[in-house]
Symmetry: C2
Subunit: 430 residues, 2 copies
């Protein structure tokens, strides 16, 4: 049994008016047992560790609903190129050279960065996912893992088998810190019959799907030409939307597409920085939210962002929507919800994303004793518009400290940085 | 005489291919005397201080070409409101309560934040500018100061007199760290005759103008209705563009407007985050640059941003332009130029903005020994897309250390933060 007592400001993300200026959180093992004003912890609670930061705000760990973690290997590798040239001449040839060990090391690097940025959960889609799972279990974070699947290349069948093996080996691993989904890449890289098979496999395994949908106008044209429909219509017709689905991007949607997503309770992983950097477009997030569709935030991979932190992503989400929909669109608290409680909902995680008794203790603290947080007119606005990832002081996942005073406790980041440097440079020089 | 020797990577911003992986900069008093590979400092150079950071990159201090520093008082005060309601019900009534001492304290807070973010020069437009000058002289930074002028209210004449007094008292102060411009607010808040008078005063004083131009569609409609022209056409007809002019925002420009700016060598201060957050629009920066117009970057005030740091602003500038003009628009090095050498050009500062012998020693170092900077495929891309202000380790202005290992050496930031907290809260409660 281990107990942690946290003292400071608390923004539990349970309701817009819930805030404790002098609060207290009691953690027993992996769970929160109480959240409230100072002195609210149960009388019989015994803390081994007391973290008292009156100028920090404690909030739920941030949730990255869409990334390709190991693409840290490609951070800054191919910049400022047209999309297809970028993919075909740079990204794909580089990725072809990456080994399973590279994926492992690249994921560890991503997790160093994410923990430093207060991200406690990621939803990852890539290859060699058993090594990604190993990295997550080692780092102590939470993750939803999906093997990227496509049958446009030669690995359709083997990928599906790998995803199945991933479910068997890792779904629920690490005290349920790791869960698994199936990862059909996109409607333009997966055939209709393949998508149906993947969906069937996911249903049999009782897990969800993570898929790219309507990311670019190119995709719309391809699907329109092949099937005479929008990507969302096509996926709906195939029956892909039956269960729990995380649809990444959803940049280009018609009103009817939005109705289909709404009717099927499809959750959207919004990646504003990637969408802007790759010139994919502006997702209709403001409209999606008004329809009651669940939207989480994602960074996408480091090759199109190029960092993996959600504070900037929150800001970019607000900016992009306000630019299109006016200055009142997406208030700060709604953006924070996308990065926390709505992110958890997007990923189907039921006891994560807000701070309440019984929930998993995934908690971060942000140090507000800095010039860019003064005066303290609005804590939510400061977190969205002024904060940076380096302001995160403490990271706890499932009741375990992963970062304290900005020191990583589970990963040897120096060794990881240098390993990735050598491995990535070897590929880029090849 | 004091000498500083810097050792580490150097990105001097003198040309895209200029980079020293193991470099050395020698500083004597306020000036750079040599920049080059390790061992390149003059043989007779004596350093009192050696800063050796092999994993830091040294680059020119960043230049914020448009801000209202003391508006830190309003950070997070009035969020997510329509523009006119925001101004009329919130911002202006709050500002009416601010004293000269508030402006001084608010500017000190802004300077704490800016130094921490590697910003060594700001171009500020506000009121009580003699107190802003005092703050800048105390902080040790560089600044171009303009008294905000408008004759739509009662202070047209007194403001002009204050700006004149500012020129006399502070133009060239602090070893030329402080220079002064005139600050006619905007074509919709200044009458034609008033703009002519201000321009005349600036010409007589031999200094430039800093003015908001074409920021919103509302402004375009007002000027169209009043004068039957675009704001740029109107200012051109008035003769405002004769000398050195910093035109802030320039969001809504016609092709003819761009020709007028180009012909008159008007420099543009681009504020992407403010433009997005207030839903003002997307400036045609890509087009402006292709026409050869000088463009610098600005944060605008903390009330519409809400931080005053340029790393995020660089990123937002790239994102916004790429979203509209495609993924190849504004490569990372061009963005860095906007934040350094082009920023200096925008403000008419001739020996600032790049690292070369004889130039003012305005230099920062960014610590690249962190997960989000690995692997090191591209230093410029990492600085634009991955860096955050907390990565700045060292700040030097005119050869004087203002921040070392993230400790501010000229300002008592704790006292300043708490002073602003009390003062701003007193106003918001009133």
């Amino acid at each position: 049994m281990s107990g942690i007592l946290l003292r400071g400001m608390i923004l539990p993300m349970t309701a817009p008016d819930h805030f404790f200026p002098e609060g207290e959180i009691a953690i027993q093992d992996e769970r929160i047992i109480s959240v409230g004003a100072r002195g609210s912890a149960p009388e019989n609670f015994v803390a081994d560790t007391l973290l008292e930061y009156p100028n920090d705000v404690f909030l739920p760990g941030l949730i990255n609903t869409h990334t390709h973690a190991a693409m840290t290997f490609l951070r800054g590798y191919a910049e400022d190129l047209p999309l297809m040239q970028w993919l075909q001449d740079k990204i794909w040839p580089f990725e072809d050279q990456m080994t399973d060990e590279d994926v492992y090391q690249g994921t560890l690097l991503a997790l160093c960065e994410m923990i430093r940025a207060g991200t406690t959960t990621m939803s990852d889609m890539y290859v060699a996912m058993h090594r990604v799972a190993d990295a997550v279990l080692q780092a102590g974070t939470r993750a939803v893992l999906a093997r990227g699947l496509m049958d446009s290349g030669p690995n359709g069948e083997s990928g599906l088998q790998e995803n199945l093996a991933l479910v068997r080996a890792y779904h629920g691993a690490g005290g349920r810190r790791v869960t698994v989904m199936f990862g059909p890449h996109a409607p333009y890289t997966c055939s209709g019959p393949y998508l149906r098979r993947v969906k069937e496999a996911a249903d049999q395994a009782g897990v969800g799907l993570h898929i790219h949908v309507a990311e670019t106008l190119d995709e719309l044209h391809i699907i329109r030409e092949q099937y005479g429909k929008t990507p969302v219509q096509w996926l709906d017709e195939l029956g892909v939307f039956g269960g729990h689905v995380v649809a990444a991007h959803c940049v280009h949607l018609t009103d009817e597409d939005m109705e289909i997503l709404c009717r099927n309770h499809v959750c959207v992983a919004h990646n504003p920085e990637s969408n802007m950097k790759l010139s994919s477009g502006t997702a209709r997030i403001y409209d999606l939210l008004r329809q009651g569709i669940t939207v989480g935030l994602g960074t996408d991979g480091a090759s199109s962002n190029n960092n993996l932190e959600l504070f900037g992503e929150m800001r970019s989400a607000a900016y992009q929507q306000k630019l299109v929909s006016g200055p009142t669109a997406l208030p700060a608290y709604e953006i924070l919800q996308m990065a926390t409680v709505k992110g958890a909902e997007t990923l189907g995680l039921s006891q994560v994303g807000s701070l309440q008794p019984g929930y998993q203790a995934d908690i971060i603290s942000v140090n507000l004793e800095q010039p860019h947080f003064y005066p303290r007119h609005s804590i939510p606005a400061h977190l969205v518009y002024s904060a940076q990832s380096a302001d995160v002081r403490t990271v706890i996942v499932a009741g375990k400290l992963l970062m304290q005073e900005r020191h990583l406790l589970t990963l040897d980041e120096k060794q990881i940085c240098h390993s990735v440097e050598q491995r990535a440079k070897a590929i880029s020089r090849a």
